[in-house]
């Protein structure tokens, strides 16, 4: 088992050296591109539209200040001064040179970070709730289990050549903040009637060209059986998954074609075999990781001038209203720092911003930072008496936009501005929508709404899960955008439905505007969110607004 904590990173240096040697052999002609490509992908190196791209894993989105500073160093030294938070809690660099990437991997290894299994048909970065270990509704912190899954899955010999990529998400809250139903395996921590800890296990979810929500394969899996059961699922899939057609190779298709009952039967049989050979080392590790992820020493202090500051400062009040989450410790809040300021590319962070966040986490946040799957960064533990000072420093750096969960907090993949697979651009559409509703000054009036944009059917922007989803396509050599409505990645998992034909780029903002006006007209109160109103009235009024001629 691989242990990637910073003090145990010899292995990462070895892997970086291995990649350095592979790059050298590619450059001197010893390796062809066909031979080299799978090797670079195993190290997170893609060749995109304008340049190589390096995807660095941020395990379950949890990152220390020193690691964040190293991400900033990479951006400054080997890229163009910024990085891009992804919807899988990772970071991507858009401009590295192949010849520099071994040095970048060395720098990452120094702080226990790596790019292993951020691509390829392997088990990818395990994702979780950005507020893990902090959220008021949490049953138990999922990170020790996420870490044992990461340690177990990294370079797992049996699972290096799966039929297709494999994504695991784990959530410890009453409310799912990890999009469990959209993953190959989703794990929800829960207690049974006897009060014992375990997992509700979901399989077969995924987005992409065939979006399918996962199904529960096991209602309650005892905590200690996590690894053998997950291993049984993946080994069953490894044998049963299709390898004849990459578009039918994900486990969602395996489950859909063979049926959940057949899969369950095989998984349960395999589970008995696997469990018998587990020696208990996994349990020792979980216990160790629980100690690593023990809650910080929360301060037992008064709120200070928090309420007075809120009363006196409109900007601070607005920011605390939108960008805070309830914390389990008295006097604390979790802060969402959005990377969706006016004009900003969703999820792009400059090196200076990364360094500032590292400093602020040390000063006000128990040295803890999280990358969220909404392409923002959370400081999970901030005492209320520190919030105004934190806000002031964020504001000075342009990082205090009060829009978490609002219409300008848009999730967008890089699209055809960077991605070689994209069929249209995502970023300008996101920017135009955000600019439009800011100009109308109705963002607060609209309230919570989730817009997600993907630049191709692979759905990295999770458009199927947006209350409003936008999918960019190439229609006869012109960018065209399909709109979906009613998707949800949080409360009641749902795949958005397409109300009709797509729109050319210049008609997307007017179309979204008509949807929003319709919502504002028909909602029964200001508390009724867009998605709630949509569920109440259905698609018809929105369809009529989108396609007035045909209505």
């Amino acid at each position: 088992m691989f242990d990637a904590r910073p003090q145990h990173n010899e292995y990462l240096r070895y892997r970086a050296q291995q990649f350095r040697s592979q790059v050298e052999r590619r450059l001197d002609g010893s390796l062809t591109e066909d031979e080299f490509r799978p090797l670079r992908l195993m190290n997170g190196v893609y060749l995109q539209l304008h340049a190589y791209m390096l995807r660095v894993a941020i395990p379950y989105g949890t990152i220390s200040p020193d690691q964040m500073r190293t991400l900033a160093l990479l951006a400054e030294k080997w890229d163009k001064g910024y990085g891009h938070w992804t919807t899988r809690q990772n970071i991507q660099y858009n401009w590295p040179k192949l010849v520099d990437i071994p040095d970048m991997l060395d720098a990452l290894a120094d702080v226990g970070l790596h790019a292993i299994q951020t691509s390829g048909n392997t088990i990818r970065n395990v994702t979780t709730d950005a507020f893990a270990g902090a959220a008021a509704d949490e049953i138990i912190d999922p990170r020790p289990y996420a870490e044992v899954l990461r340690a177990w899955s990294t370079d797992h010999a049996e699972f290096q050549f799966l039929p297709r990529k494999f994504k695991i998400a784990i959530s410890g809250g009453e409310k799912d903040r990890a999009v469990i139903a959209a993953h190959d395996i989703g794990l929800r921590l829960r207690r049974n009637e006897a009060g014992e800890l375990g997992f509700q296990v979901w399989i077969g979810g995924g987005l992409g060209r065939t979006p399918i929500l996962g199904q529960v394969v096991r209602e309650f899996l005892p905590e200690a059986d996590l690894l053998p059961y997950v291993e049984a699922i993946i080994s069953t899939y490894n044998l049963a998954g299709r390898r004849d057609n990459k578009y039918k190779a994900r486990i969602k298709i395996t489950v859909a074609e063979r049926g959940l009952d057949v899969m369950r039967e095989e998984i349960e049989a395999e589970f008995l075999v696997r469990r018998a050979v587990f020696t208990g080392v996994d349990q020792d590790l979980v216990a160790e990781f629980k100690a690593v992820y023990a809650a910080p020493a929360f301060r037992n202090a008064e709120d200070g001038d928090y309420e007075e500051r809120r009363a006196a400062n409109v900007g601070f009040r607005s920011w605390t209203d939108t960008n805070l989450q309830a914390h389990k410790a008295p006097g604390y809040a979790s802060v969402m720092v959005t990377f969706k300021a006016p004009g900003q590319t969703p999820g792009d962070a400059s090196a200076a911003q990364m360094n500032l966040l590292a400093d602020l986490a040390e000063r006000y946040g128990h040295s803890d930072l999280r990358i969220s799957h909404d392409q923002n960064v959370a400081l999970p533990h901030v005492h209320k008496s520190d919030l105004f000072a934190l806000y002031s420093e964020l504001k000075a750096a342009g990082l205090a936009t009060a829009n978490a969960g609002l219409i300008s907090d848009i999730v967008a993949c890089p699209g055809m501005d960077y991605c070689a697979l994209a069929t249209a651009r995502s970023i300008p559409i996101a920017q135009e929508i955000a600019d439009h509703f800011r100009a109308r000054d109705i963002e607060d009036e609209i309230g919570k709404i989730d817009i997600r944009i993907s630049g191709c059917i692979n759905a990295c922007g999770h458009h199927h899960l947006g209350h409003i989803g936008i999918l960019g396509l190439d229609r006869a050599g012109v960018e065209n955008y399909q709109i979906t409505l009613g998707g949800d990645g949080y409360d009641i998992p749902a795949i958005g439905q397409r109300p009709g034909a797509g729109f050319p780029a210049e008609e997307v903002v007017p179309a979204i505007d008509r949807i929003i006006n319709t919502y504002l007209d028909l909602r029964d109160s200001v508390e009724e969110r867009f998605i709630d109103a949509y569920r109440r009235v259905g698609a018809a009024p929105f369809k009529a607004a989108l396609y007035p001629v045909n209505a």
Partner: protein, 109 residues
């Protein structure tokens, strides 16, 4: 996005790829490679294009993934893109002034 079309006077093409070491886009010219898309060689003959593609594939120690991209002859005789994807590759991203647009400005041409 390699397309199955036949380079001809009616449907000219350029040969484009990415630089192996650095990753940036390059275009074939006289058997070599240029980072300036305006300098790309326009292929209007199938046989010549086929030979040039063989040559490009043979330069795997310099470039990655060469392909024929449909183009058109501009008013000044230089190649211009026919599809937005190639237009973006020639220019760079739309959210920052990075990539070829910045390189060309920096070289002041």
């Amino acid at each position: 996005m390699s397309k199955t079309f036949t380079p001809s006077i009616a449907t000219p093409a350029v040969i484009t790829a990415n630089d192996l070491r650095m990753g940036h886009c390059v275009w074939m010219r006289d058997g070599g490679w240029t980072a300036d898309p305006r300098e790309a060689q326009l292929f209007e003959d199938e046989a010549i294009a086929d030979l040039a593609m063989l040559d490009a594939i043979g330069q795997a120690n310099i470039v990655v993934g060469p392909y024929l991209a449909e183009a058109k002859r501009g008013a000044d005789g230089r190649p211009e893109p026919t599809h937005f994807r190639e237009a973006f590759r020639r220019r760079g991203p739309s959210n920052y002034f990075h990539g070829i647009q910045a390189e060309l400005e920096a070289s002041n041409v």
